[in-house]
Structures are given as C-alpha cells and as structure tokens.
Symmetry: none
Subunit: 206 residues, 4 copies
DNA sequence: GATGAATGAGAATTCATTCAT
DNA sequence: CATGAATGAATTCTCATTCAT
C-alpha cells in the first residue's frame, strides 16, 4: 500500500542516538578510551555536546553501551551455535567462524575494551560501578566459556585429549583475536578451517 | 679486594633514575598509561617532580624507556636461543619457555604497552615521533619474527606442515600472552611443554 | 640592625595562597558562592588556575577555608569576652561590640556563608562531607551560645526577665546582623550601646 | 446552582501555570535558587519544559513571579493593618502577628529570596534588569517601612523613645525573620506577644 | 643535579533556553 | 498551547610540563 517508507521520521529521533553511537565507535576504535574526547565524537556525529549527555550519563556509559549493543547479537549467535545439534568438531569450526567474523569487524573497539575492562571505576569516581564492569567481564568470560563447553564435549566423546579446557579455550580465543588484530584474516571461512585444523591436528606432519 | 667502591654520587644519580623507573614500572602496571600520574610515580620513587624531567623528556619517553630497558635482556636471550645449535623442536620449546618466563614477570606492563603502542603520537602533540613508536613496534615484531624463523626451519626440515609461518608465529605468541595475562602459568617449564605439544601435535587423540 | 626587612621571600610562598584567599574573599562576597567563578578569582589573584587547586581541593573547600580563617580570631575574642570578669551587662555590651565589629567587616561573606551552610553536599557529590558542614554550623551556633550564656547569667543575677535565652540570643544576634547587612553601622561603639540599650530597656518611655 | 463550571480548557491553562508555580515553590525552597533546576521543577509540576517558557521568560522571572504572587496578599494585609484605627501598640502587635504568620509559612523561600535579591542581573547576562530587581527590593523595603511608620506613630504619641525608626524597624523585622528561620515559632499569637513585649519593655526586670 | 610551586591547555559535565512539531 | 529533543556556553577540575632556586 505504502509506495515508500518514510525513513527520516522514525529514524530521526533514534538517529541522534545512533549517530552518536556510530561516531563513538569510530573515535573509540581509533583513539582508545582515554584519548577519545567527547568533542571529537560530537564533531563526527554532527551533534551538540548536550545531546550526548541526554542519551548517556557520561563518557564511560557511552562506551559500555556501545560495547553492549555491538556484542549482543554476536553473543546470541554464539550461544545458538554452541547449542546446535551437530558433530562437535564441525560445531567448533562454526563457532570459530563466528568469532573470526565478529572480531574481524570489531577488532579495534574490542582491543580497547579488553584493555579498559580492567581499570574502570577503581575508585568511587565513576557512575559505572564495579558491578557494571564485572557484568561486562562476565559477558566476556561467558563467550569463552562456550568454547570450553564444546571442547569438553569433544573430550567426553574421546575426540580430543584430556587437556585443561579453560586453558585451551583461552588459547583458542587468543589466537582468533591475534589474527584479527593483525588483520591477517581475509577469508573468514578459510581462516576458520585453518585455525581449527591447527588446533585439532597440530603443526606436525604425520 | 676492591680498593674503592663507586660512592653515592655516581650511585645516587643512577639510583634516582633507577628509582623512578622502578616506580614507573609499578604504577604503569597497576594503572595503565593514562591513569598513571607523574605525581604517583614520584611519590613512590620518593623524588621530586623536576627530577623525572631531568632524566626523561616526558611521560611518554619514560614509558618507552621502561619498556626498552626491560625488554632488552629478553630480546638478547631470545636471539641467542633462536641461533642455538639444537634440534628445532627443542629449540622451539626453549623459546616458548623464555617467552613464558618474560611475560609471566611482565604481564601487566606489557599488557599496557601492547595497548598503547597503537595510538601514540598520532598527532604532532607528542615528543615521541612516529619513527620512535615504529621502532618499538619493530622490536616487537622482531621477537615474533624469531619464532617464525624457527618454525620455518621446522618446515624446511619436513618436521612441520607448510603453514603460513607469520600467522603461526602470531598464534603461538598470542597463546603465550593469553595464558600469562590470565595468570594460568604456574610452572613455566611444564607450561612450555604443554603449549608446544598442543601446537605441534594438536588436541586430537591419535 | 637590619635597616629593612625583606618582605617578599617569606611572603612569597604564603603570598600565593594568601592572594587567592583574598581574591576569593572579594569575589565570594560580591557574587555569592554560585555566581563566583574560579576564573574570576584567579584573575583577581593574578595566578594560575592550577595554583588554586594546589592549595585547595576544590571551590567548596576554598570557601570553607576562607570562612574558617576569618572567623577564628573573632571566635577566640568572643570566647574571652564571655569569660571576662566583668559586670554582666557591660560584658554583654562588649560582646555586642565584637559582633558588630566582626560583621561590619565581613557582612557580605557571612551573608553568603549563612545561606550556603544549609545546602552544601546534600548528595555525595562533594568532597566536603556533611560532617564538615556540620562543624561550621556548630561553630556558628557556638558563638550564639556564648550570648545565651551571658544572658542566662543576667537572669541568674535577677538582672533580666526569665525569657527563653535561646530565642533571645538569636534575636540579639539577628539584630546585629541585620544592622550590619543594611550598613546602618557607622560608629561601632555607639551602635553597641544603642542595641544593648534597646534590648535591655525596651523602646517604651518609662 | 452554578449553571456552568469553567471547564478544563480555561482551568487547564491556569492550572499549568499554577502547577509550575507550586512546584517551583517547593524546589526553590528546598534547594535554593542555583541548585534548583528547571528539570526538577517540571518533573514535580508534571509538565513539559517548553511550557515553563511559555509562561515565564526564564528561570529568574519564574522565581520573581513566585515571590511577587506569594507576597502580595501579605503586603495588602499588612498595609491594612498599619492603616487600622487601633491603639498603636496593639497595632504593632497585630502587624508582628502578620509578619510571623507569613514568614512561618514561607521561611524557606524567603530565605532564598533575601539571599538572591542582591546579586541578580549584576551583569547584562540576565533578562531581569536592575530596575526589576530594584522593584523587588523596594517592595521589601516597603513592608519594613510600614513598621517604621507605626513606630513613628508611637514616638509621636510619646509612647516610645525617640529612636532611629529605620534602625528599629529593621531590628524588629530581623528578629521576626530569625525566629521563623530557626523554627522557634510554634504559636504565632504567643510569639507575637513575646516579641512585642521584649521590644517595647526590654529584657530588664523593672 | 634535585626540587616543587606555578601554570594553563584540555576535558568532562551541567543546565537554561530554543524551536520545530 | 504543550512538548521535549537538541543545543552550546559556562564551569569545575586534572595533570603534564616548566623553571627559578
């Protein structure tokens, strides 16, 4: 019935918030948390300074909101993949694929986040309480935990050696992150296969 | 036996510099680069603020000097290990051991360093020029390059598969770093064996 | 022996702090607490912004330090007067004289102080805790309490009616403050006599 | 009996204005002028921010309108009392009663008002010009002037000593204000009698 | 060389006010 | 009229760096 959909009206009000989040994404990714200034963000978002503080309590909360909104779809997808009814090793590869894809897209910001997750709000100088920070840390650990769970499945099925799954999952995870941070990933599917293969079969020639 | 000992004057001046570097190590490790203040450092070093600026041009140079002086012995040792006349896989494990030991001791500061190495001096606001920063990045890449070199040896000797050695060396490296950052390493020797084994032989049960 | 005394050296280091306090006195008196800006204060004190924060934690503490340092000599003098061995009514007049003198000189700032003493630090947004504020309120009440004590003496000696001394002392005090705030006081001695006379003997013609 | 009642439209528009004034009364009384925010006022008034600016030019004018509307009935009543045909001393007591009643009810806001009346519009930063402010100061002085007028009557009738009536009226006024601000007033009638008695007859035992 | 008082550029945050709907 | 999202001027406070002693 409607020949076209008005993009602006609905968008516009959300748009400001969205514009700010997008600008924040860019600036935080480029500069890190501390070197990024609210002035830079509003310049890029083409908005006023007050507007930022209408939508977010402070710089820190802006940062965390950004992280949360970006990670949620990924976390959901990963959860689903880990629950899928599928041969364990294929499932592992699928999860590696999701990780690679997500970190390929968000490498810069996540690098910043992983660094900041430690230091925030040490003192009471911050609106974001230790609990909030803790929540993010947990979210973080949860995704790695999904890897551990699947690795444990592999062990239970006598597919994998009896290694410390926590260590192994962190190892897996760190390799994924390192390759994306180094921008070594071009083809996600191929890389997922490569990474999984090395971890499962090792570097040694049989 | 020694007729004289270098007295305070010489000692003292080196001592001041050393005290500052040691305090800086502690503070930077605890707080990260931005949250660390020169005031905290001098409080811990028990020295005056001007003294810091007698020995170092600015906060950034203090930070980099710290990194350089701490990493040099490690880089030398790693270089020697990589040149050693030894079976390749044993050499690899020896190098992993060196890495683990170094990062276990310096995890906090290196975590900070790896984060800061990106953004410094982007603008002309800094005494530390892009070249300087680049030098550090190179130093960093050089150590990983030593791993790559040994992996290549392994491939040439038909011990290892023909994988991309750059990727593989970064993977190796990232796992080492992740395990130390997570404080998973208790016994360096055992961990070195474990890590090397997984990478060489994989997780799969034969 | 010394023909002249160096004014600067000793003064200079205290001078900055003193300059700031004096400028703060002027600006706070003129504008009140909120309308006064640190920028105005440093402009008048001819100093840098950071210097203010070297000597005082924040604007609030600057304000309270000002109040404390100004009121202390007065409080001491008033205490002594109230303890003096002297006929009660003369003592009362002497105290009124001290009050008038003090408020004549400090009317503006005290007006501000009396207003602000209520609202500060309601939330945890302030370095100055409720206790600190409470301390000032107490100091304030203490001086009025000295009046009450002497009025009670007068009652005990059957010189004065049995009125509520708390009410009466506040009444006394408020008249003193009102007259100074209205700048009605020219000759402190004469006014002290006038005020005391009215309170003791009333307005009625015998 | 009433054929029609002014319906919502008329009501509503006055109601909005009234709601705002009532909320403003509460917030200004609690927080003082500067710490009160328009946001708090509209939250309490349950209205939009723009609405405030439909009825009032700015925060300052809102404040002054509040003062004016609250004080008008009082000023009228006081005027009438001062014109009443009644023995002077009884008239004085009646006026004291009116003052006490008014300040008992409005202590908090008037406390704020008396503080703010000084600094407003010092610079050209404000819509409220010096004249406007001056008008309020005059209104203030006028009420005190009514006291002075009656005191002068008493003097003319040889009931009171020949004191400076301006000083005396301010003294009277300040005592009333002090007692209400200290919340010492429970029974207005009794307090009016007490205050008048002390001023007329003094504290001394005959 | 050592020191620390003085400095001011820079950053986050607040809040009265406007204006398009 | 009523609304509230958008705005930016104004303000406080921090902290690296300088420089006279």
């Amino acid at each position: 019935m409607a020949y076209y959909r008005e993009e602006q009206p609905g968008d516009d009000s959300r748009s400001k918030r969205q514009q700010i989040l997008e600008a924040a994404y860019t600036i935080f990714s480029q500069k890190g948390y501390h070197r990024a200034t609210v002035d830079e963000i509003i310049a890029l978002a083409d908005t006023g300074k007050g507007t930022v503080y209408n939508y977010f309590n402070n710089k820190e909360q802006l940062f965390y909101t950004l992280i949360r909104e970006r990670s949620q779809p990924f976390e959901t997808a990963l959860q689903q993949a880990s629950d899928a009814d599928m041969p364990t090793l294929e499932k592992l590869e699928a999860m590696v694929r999701l990780f690679l894809k997500f970190y390929k897209d968000n490498a810069s910001l996540w690098r910043v986040m992983m660094h900041e997750i430690r230091g925030f709000g040490s003192e009471g100088l911050s609106y974001v309480k230790t609990e909030t920070r803790e929540r993010y840390r947990e979210g973080f650990n949860r995704t790695i935990g999904l890897l551990a769970k699947v690795l444990q499945e592999g062990i239970d099925q006598r597919l994998l050696k009896e290694v410390n799954v926590t260590h192994a999952s962190y190892a897996f995870f760190s390799v994924i992150v390192a390759l994306t941070f180094q921008q070594f990933i071009k083809d996600v599917d191929a890389s997922a296969r490569e990474v999984t293969d090395i971890f499962i079969n090792g570097l040694a020639l049989k």
